[in-house]
C-alpha cells in the first residue's frame, strides 16, 4: 500500500531533522544564486520604467541613448516578437508599455550594454514624452470610476451567501479595518541570464517560483513554441510569493535574441520594489453577531482589495480573503462581498498568506471585540466556535480532513507565559535608543487563530511531475519543483531514504525538460511535489518487484525498506536489490479535484485546510508608542512533521514576517508613487526586533490524502501572528487599533 494513502510512521528518512543537502555550498558562499551567474561575452540589461502612475506615451526617443558607446540594443513594445501581453492568471499586462503606463515602475524600454553603468546611463538618456493623467489611487472609488484599462476596474467581484440573511444574535459588533501594502522583500533581488541558442530558441536561467508558467508566458511573448524556450532554475534568494509573476523574463530573452549574446540583468533593491507584485492592501468592514453564549450566529463583511494596475493573482487572492474571512470558526450564516479592483497603484499579487492574512487581521479583531462585549475570555470564545472535522465552511464545503482547532488553541493557551521581569536596556521598548525606563512600560497579551487553505482552488487542475531514475543502484530525482529556501531539497533526500533506503539522491538540475511541478506557493509543494517524488520512488519499487519476479520467479512484497518474499525465503533490502539495476519512473501526482464556487460563493473549492494560533506578549511604552515584542508562541496543525528543524524554520520565519506586518512594514504610497522603495525606510525586522518564538505544540493528526499525512506548513505562521501582536497591544493600551502596520503614533497620539 502506498505511503500516499497510508501515512505510516517512518523508521528512516521522514520525521527526522535531516540537514539540508545544499547547506555546505550555501555556508561556503559557493552556492550560485541567479545574481551570481555570468557568461563569457555577456551584456548587461537594464529597464526604463515609468515615473508616473498614469500617463499616455506620446513618443519614445532613444536615439541619444543608442549613440552611447557600449550600448548594443534598445528595445520597446514594437520589438516584442509575439503577444505583448502576459499575466499569471489572466494576460492583461504589456511586456513593454505601448500606449499608456498605468503604474510607477511600469517597464517601457529595455537596454543591453557592455557594462551595467553604461546600461544605466543609456536608460537615463532615453526620452519619453508622457502626457500625465490623473491617477486613480483610491480602491473604493475604483469600483465606480472610469476604467483605467480596457478590461475595466473590477478584476473580480464575488459574494458568499450562506444561510439565512435575517438571522441575528443578541450581541453585534462592527468594525472597519485596514491592511497596508506589505512587500515580500526577498533578499536575493530579481536576476537572471538569457542565452540565445543556435536553434532560434532561448535558454533562460532565472530565480522564480514556477518555471513552466514562466516558460508559457515567455514563449507566447516571443512567439516561440514551448520547446524552444528552456527555463532553468538559478539559485533563489527567497520568494514569499514575489517571484510567482514574470518580471524580467521576457525582457532578458528579447535582449538576448536581438543581440545574439548572453544578457544578464540584476535589479537593485530600489528597482526590485518596483519590479514585483506586493501584498494587496485591504479595506474591510465586518459585522459579527452572536448569541449570549458567544456562539456566532452571523457574519457579514465587505472586502476591497487594491490590485493595482494589473490583475496578477488578484482573483485568487480575493477568493481566499472572502472564503476564509470568518476565520477558523463555525458560522451558520455568512454574507461576504468582495472586490478585487484595479487602480494606478503598484500591482499586487501573491504574498505568503495570499488573502487570508488581510481578513484574518480584521476577523480576529472582531472576535476580541465580541469577547469583550460578552465579558468572555478571548480564547474561550474561540474555543466555543472552533471548527472541527465534519463542520461546514461558509462556502458550504464540509471539512472531511482533520481540523484540530481546539487542540491548537488549548495547547497554546496552556503554554507558560514568560516572566514579567524587564531586564536590561535591550529588553525595553526603544532598545539602544534609550528612550524608555521600566516605569514607562505596560505589558499586554493577545491571541489570534487562523485557517489557511492548502494548494490551489476553485477547480484548478493542479499537478506535479517527478521522475525517479536509478542507475546501478544510484538514485537521481528529477522534478521542476523550485527550492526557495523552504527545504524541499532536504525532503527529497528524506523521501528517497524513506522509500528506498538509499541515503543520498542526486537532485537533477531543475528545468523545463520535465513537466511542471506547479508553483512553490500555496503551501503546496510537500503535498504535490513531495507526493510526486514519493510516487515515483514507489513506482521504482513496483518495477523492481516486477523485475525480480520475472528474473528469479520470487514474488516479493514491500515491507518498510525491505522486500519480503511470499514464501519464506530471505528478504532483501530495497537499496541492496537496486544495485546493478536501472529504472526510470516518471509520474504525475494530482490531488482530489476541487470545484468552482457558484454565484453564491458555494462549492467544494478547496483541497485541505491548516489551522494555527498565535499568542503575543508585548511591552508597550504608550507615551512614545514604542512596542517591544517579548515573545510569540504558536501551535500549528501540521498533519505530520517531516523535518522538525525545517518545520521550525518555516514557523520562525513566517512569524517574523507577521511581526513585520504588525509593526514595521508598509510601502508608503503617495498618489501611486512608493516613497520608501529601499531598506532604509521599508523596515524589515532585524535580530534586535525579533523575539524568541516558542512552539507550544505541533498538532499532528495525519491528513487523509496527504503524502505522509503532512499538511503544508509555510503560510499559517504568517497569518494569525499579526493579529495576535495587535491584540496584545490593545490589551496593554485599551486602544482600538484598526490598521496594520501599527505605527508608534497610532499609540502615542491615540485620542490626543
Amino acid at each position: 500500500m502506498s505511503l500516499l494513502e497510508e501515512g505510516i510512521a517512518s523508521t528512516a528518512g521522514v520525521g527526522i531533522s535531516a540537514t539540508r543537502p545544499d547547506g555546505k555550498e550555501k555556508a561556503r558562499g559557493d552556492f550560485l544564486f541567479s545574481n551570481d551567474l555570468s557568461a563569457e561575452d555577456m551584456l548587461w540589461g537594464q529597464t526604463l520604467r515609468s515615473p508616473y502612475p498614469s500617463a499616455k506615451i506620446r513618443k519614445i526617443d532613444f536615439s541619444q541613448a543608442l549613440a552611447i558607446e557600449g550600448v548594443h540594443a534598445i528595445l520597446t513594445a514594437d520589438d516584442v516578437p509575439g503577444e505583448n501581453i502576459f499575466g499569471l492568471e489572466h494576460p492583461d499586462q504589456p511586456v513593454l508599455a505601448f500606449d499608456m503606463v498605468r503604474y510607477v515602475g511600469e517597464p517601457v524600454a529595455i537596454v543591453a550594454a557592455n557594462h551595467p553603468e553604461v546600461a544605466k546611463k543609456a536608460v537615463d538618456a532615453i526620452y519619453v514624452d508622457y502626457e500625465q493623467l490623473d491617477p486613480l489611487v483610491n480602491s473604493q472609488e475604483a469600483i465606480e470610476a472610469g476604467p483605467i484599462h480596457p478590461e475595466g476596474n473590477v478584476i473580480r467581484h464575488m459574494v458568499i451567501n450562506h444561510g439565512d440573511p435575517d438571522a441575528n444574535g443578541n450581541i453585534t459588533v462592527e468594525g472597519e479595518y485596514e491592511v497596508g501594502m506589505q512587500d515580500q522583500a526577498f533578499l536575493g533581488t530579481e536576476s537572471g541570464i538569457a542565452f540565445p541558442s543556435a536553434d532560434g530558441g532561448v535558454d533562460l536561467h532565472i530565480s522564480t517560483q514556477w518555471l513552466h508558467s514562466d516558460r508559457d508566458q515567455v514563449a507566447s511573448a516571443l512567439n516561440l513554441p514551448d520547446d524552444l524556450v528552456r527555463v532553468t532554475l538559478a539559485g533563489v534568494g527567497g520568494a514569499f510569493g514575489g517571484r510567482e509573476d514574470v518580471s524580467m523574463h521576457v525582457h532578458l530573452c528579447m535582449l538576448a535574441l536581438y543581440t545574439g549574446r548572453p544578457v544578464k540583468m540584476v535589479y537593485d533593491r530600489n528597482e526590485s520594489f518596483l519590479g514585483h507584485v506586493h501584498r494587496h492592501p485591504a479595506k474591510i468592514w465586518f459585522r459579527h453577531s452572536a448569541d449570549e453564549s458567544g456562539a456566532l450566529v452571523k457574519v457579514e463583511a465587505k472586502v476591497i482589495l487594491d490590485g493595482g494596475a494589473y490583475a496578477s493573482t488578484t482573483s485568487a487572492v480575493l477568493a481566499n480573503a472572502c472564503c476564509f474571512s470568518v476565520g477558523p470558526y463555525r458560522v451558520p450564516n455568512a454574507f461576504i462581498e468582495g472586490w478585487g479592483v484595479r487602480t494606478n497603484n503598484p500591482p499586487c499579487g501573491a504574498m505568503r498568506g495570499f488573502g487570508n492574512v488581510q481578513t484574518c487581521f480584521a476577523a480576529e479583531a472582531q472576535m476580541d471585540k465580541l469577547a469583550s462585549a460578552l465579558s468572555m475570555d478571548p480564547v474561550e470564545l474561540r474555543l466555543l466556535n472552533a471548527l472541527k472535522s465534519g463542520d461546514t465552511l461558509i462556502t458550504g464545503q464540509k471539512i472531511t480532513g482533520t481540523a484540530p482547532v481546539k487542540e491548537v488553541l488549548t495547547s497554546l493557551s496552556e503554554h507558560p507565559i514568560p516572566d514579567g521581569v524587564k531586564g536590561d536596556l535591550l529588553e525595553l521598548p526603544g532598545g539602544t535608543g534609550r528612550t524608555t525606563d521600566n516605569s514607562h512600560v505596560k505589558r499586554g497579551i493577545g491571541y489570534a487563530a487562523s485557517i489557511k487553505n492548502l494548494m490551489f482552488s476553485e477547480g484548478f487542475d493542479d499537478f506535479s511531475e517527478a521522475r525517479c531514475i536509478v542507475v546501478d543502484g544510484k538514485v537521481s530525482i528529477q522534478s521542476a519543483c523550485v527550492e526557495v529556501g523552504q527545504g524541499f531539497v532536504t525532503l527529497v533526500n528524506q523521501i528517497v531514504e524513506e522509500t528506498l533506503g538509499v541515503s543520498e539522491a542526486a537532485i537533477l538540475p531543475v528545468d523545463t525538460s520535465i513537466g511542471s511541478a506547479g508553483s512553490t506557493s500555496a503551501s503546496r509543494q510537500t503535498w504535490m511535489s513531495g507526493g510526486a517524488v514519493l510516487k515515483a520512488c514507489e513506482a521504482v519499487v513496483d518495477a523492481l518487484v516486477l523485475e525480480l519476479q520475472k528474473e528469479i520467479g520470487v514474488e516479493y512484497e514491500r515491507v518498510g525498506l525491505n522486500l519480503v518474499p511470499k514464501d519464506s525465503s530471505d528478504s532483501i533490502a530495497i537499496a541492496v536489490a537496486l544495485r546493478g539495476r536501472n529504472f526510470d519512473e516518471h509520474v504525475t501526482h494530482r490531488h482530489l479535484p476541487t470545484f468552482p464556487l457558484d454565484h453564491n460563493g458555494q462549492g467544494n473549492a478547496h483541497v485541505s485546510f491548516a489551522f494555527a494560533a498565535h499568542r503575543a506578549v508585548v511591552d508597550v511604552d504608550q507615551e512614545l508608542g514604542l512596542v517591544r515584542v517579548v515573545e510569540i508562541a504558536t501551535s500549528q496543525d501540521v498533519g505530520r512533521i517531516l523535518n522538525p528543524v525545517q518545520a521550525r524554520g518555516q514557523i520562525e520565519g513566517g512569524v517574523t514576517q507577521g511581526l513585520g506586518l504588525a509593526l514595521l512594514e508598509e510601502l508608503v504610497l503617495t498618489d501611486g508613487k512608493i516613497a520608501n522603495a529601499n531598506f532604509t525606510d521599508y523596515l524589515l525586522p532585524t535580530a534586535m526586533d525579533t523575539p524568541p518564538i516558542e512552539i507550544a505544540a505541533f498538532i499532528e493528526q495525519p491528513e487523509p490524502g496527504a503524502p505522509f499525512g503532512a499538511k503544508g506548513i509555510g503560510e499559517p505562521p504568517v497569518i494569525s501572528s499579526t493579529p495576535a501582536i495587535v491584540a496584545a497591544i490593545r490589551d496593554a493600551t485599551g486602544f482600538e487599533l484598526n490598521r496594520v502596520p501599527v505605527k508608534p503614533e497610532d499609540i502615542a497620539l491615540n485620542g490626543l
Binding site: R20, K24, F33, D36, E69, V118, G237, R269, Q486
Partner: protein
C-alpha cells in the same frame, strides 16, 4: 573604453592573493569588484546601501559593508571574504554550526552573517543572547527569523569552550 570615468589601475589583496584591476569605472564598489571582476560571488548584494549586511567582508581586520567601500580605496588593505572563512578546511566551526542548527534556508544572508559572526566571536567568545543579536543587527534575514542563527552562535561558543577545556 565607453565606461564613464575610467579609473587607472590598482591592486587588491583579497584572501591572501593579489589582483590587478584595470580598465574599471572609478565608482565601482569593492562588492562589485569582488563579484564581477574577481569572480568571488560569495559576498552578496541585497541593497547596496549598507542596510542589509549581505556584503560584509573584513578589511584590515575590521568588519565592513563592501558595498560602501570604493574598490580603488581598498588598495593596500587586507581583504578577507566568505571564501576564506574556512581557512583551508572544508568548513569552519561556525559554518558547521549553521548547518547543524538549520540556520540556513535560502542562504542569501548566510555569507554576510558568517563573516560577521567569525569577527564577533573572536572578540566575544562567550556572548549573551542580547549581545549576539546586537552583533548581527546589521545583517537582515528574511527567511529564518534569526532564531536558529542565534542558536548556531551559541553552539559554536559552547563547542569552542568544550574543546578548550
Amino acid at each position: 573604453m565607453g565606461i564613464p570615468q575610467e579609473s587607472s589601475q590598482y591592486e587588491l589583496t583579497v584572501n591572501d592573493s593579489k589582483y590587478v584591476i584595470s580598465g574599471s569605472w572609478l565608482g565601482e564598489s569593492l562588492l562589485y569588484v569582488l563579484r564581477e571582476r574577481l569572480g568571488l560571488y560569495g559576498s552578496k548584494n541585497a541593497c547596496e546601501q549598507g542596510e542589509c549586511g549581505s556584503c560584509s567582508v573584513m578589511m584590515d581586520d575590521v568588519l565592513v559593508c563592501s558595498c560602501l567601500v570604493l574598490a580603488a580605496n581598498a588598495e593596500g588593505r587586507t581583504i578577507k571574504t566568505i571564501e576564506s572563512v574556512a581557512d583551508g578546511s572544508d568548513l569552519s566551526d561556525v559554518q558547521e554550526a549553521f548547518i547543524d542548527t538549520g540556520a540556513i534556508q535560502c542562504g542569501f544572508c548566510t555569507p554576510g552573517l558568517l563573516v560577521t559572526i567569525h569577527d564577533f566571536l573572536d572578540s566575544n567568545p562567550e556572548p549573551e543572547e542580547s549581545e549576539i543579536k546586537e552583533a548581527i543587527s546589521g545583517n537582515l534575514c528574511r527567511c529564518t527569523g534569526y532564531g536558529r542563527i542565534v542558536e548556531a552562535v551559541q553552539l559554536v561558543s559552547i563547542r569552542r569552550s568544550n574543546r578548550d577545556t
